[in-house]
Point group: C2
């Protein structure tokens, strides 16, 4: 099963000015296609921090996805920082350059900004990582990148959600679906018990016997019932469902015999 | 200026089932009292991952705050994992034990759970880190811990927001306010320009001259204006405000001379 990590880059996120919602969105999607997301991280727009966090993740997972830091301002340094982590150079992508030029020219023509074409800051966004597959932006100016290296897969996406989501769904998900070979199924149900510690002991026993992950979900001290979530991975959805059914049957049996 | 990191522990968070809101809440509060929060991380309920993430943060910041993993179930392993990272043992805190016993007995008496008193899983929550200051839970059963070691300050809090927040505000914030010696002021305003790349160059120049952090906030391609956020740290709030005013005056001056 592929393992992944998601990294949100940006000072607003780590300082609690902006709630990171990109990582949750991406992590949900990764789980849904059977990828085990092990880490969510957020760091500053600082080269050393980005390099350290990316390297930490690359030592532990197969897929790393970053969001943020692709824009034209001085603190948008994701591309160059990830290049350092991957020991690669940057190159000027002429397709990206043309795209950015046309993008700003169009906005200028529509009277939305003061100057069209290319300037030094805008040109920065056309420098991509050597050997990457550029990921086109269908909403904004900055392209993302996909780099495959030593069996690792690194994606850098924009931080603005309405730019990131189409790029993730249109460009990243298809690649990952090909790479991933697991199906995951999750089932939620409720049981007639309200004591998390007693339920916990039964969950231990079932997880010892069946290849599933079971989590109890307390609904509060007042309720007479509790939630149970069983997650299973397998080659196919049917196999995963079957594992869940066997584990669920065992758990309910144990509860009835309390 | 103190540096910090916030770590959310729990499989539901990294797999995109539950959005982590605790880290954002804590990071906002830390920034507000002049602490520079450098990282937000989320990892699995796995000892090695918790140890690795905690150690990564301890090498880079002064304050580490974890949420989650203090409960009675088998995957609540934060206390023992953080103890490993700090090379400390656990001990059975008799005050915590008594509290947990009374807590469950009260719920049992109120007819809310099936059995009161202590069992093996509940007792696990009374094992705290040697040398810690226990942090009492005013809502739930699990106490948190505060450990000071080699100039580092580590706090472990519950993951349930309505248990975490009172503990953070009542027990953690007072300690951190004493430790922190910086005041931070943030000012937001708008300027008559809609081109992020042109504004970016002016921001570069102002930040080169004044000890502030300036971020442009695009409000969308349609708007004729843009947002600017200036953040300053200083010994007092007045000094921080003064730095912001000087930087703001310079930026507006440059814009008027475009």
């Amino acid at each position: 099963m592929l393992k992944s990590a998601v990294i949100a880059i940006g000072k607003e996120i780590i300082s609690g000015i902006t709630q990171d919602s990109n990582s949750f969105y991406i992590a949900s999607n990764l789980s849904r296609i059977g990828i085990y997301n092990r880490f969510i991280m957020a760091c500053d727009d600082k080269a050393q921090d980005i390099v350290d966090v990316v390297n930490f993740c690359l030592e532990r997972v197969d897929v790393v996805i970053t969001t943020g830091g692709l824009g034209p301002t001085f603190d948008d340094i994701t591309i160059e920082s990830v290049a350092i982590a991957l020991n690669r150079k940057l190159y000027l992508d002429t397709d990206a350059l043309r795209f950015i030029h046309d993008f700003y020219s169009r906005l200028h023509k529509e009277g939305k900004i003061e100057s069209g074409g290319i300037n030094q800051k805008r040109m920065k966004m056309a420098y991509l990582i050597e050997g990457c597959k550029p990921l086109k932006n269908s909403v904004g100016a900055a392209w993302g990148v996909y780099v495959e290296q030593n069996g690792k897969h690194v994606f850098c996406l924009p931080g603005v959600p309405k730019e990131m989501k189409p790029m993730f769904e249109g460009e990243v998900l298809p690649i990952l679906k090909d790479l991933s070979d697991s199906s995951m199924v999750v089932e939620n149900f409720e049981v007639d018990i309200n004591d998390e510690s007693v339920l916990g002991e039964l969950i231990d026993r079932v997880m010892g016997k069946y290849p599933v992950y079971i989590k109890s979900l307390p609904v509060g001290f007042d309720s007479s019932r509790m939630g149970v979530r069983i997650t299973a991975y397998a080659q196919t959805q049917e196999q995963a469902k079957q594992r869940i059914e066997e584990a669920k049957r065992e758990l309910i049996n144990l509860l009835n015999n309390l």
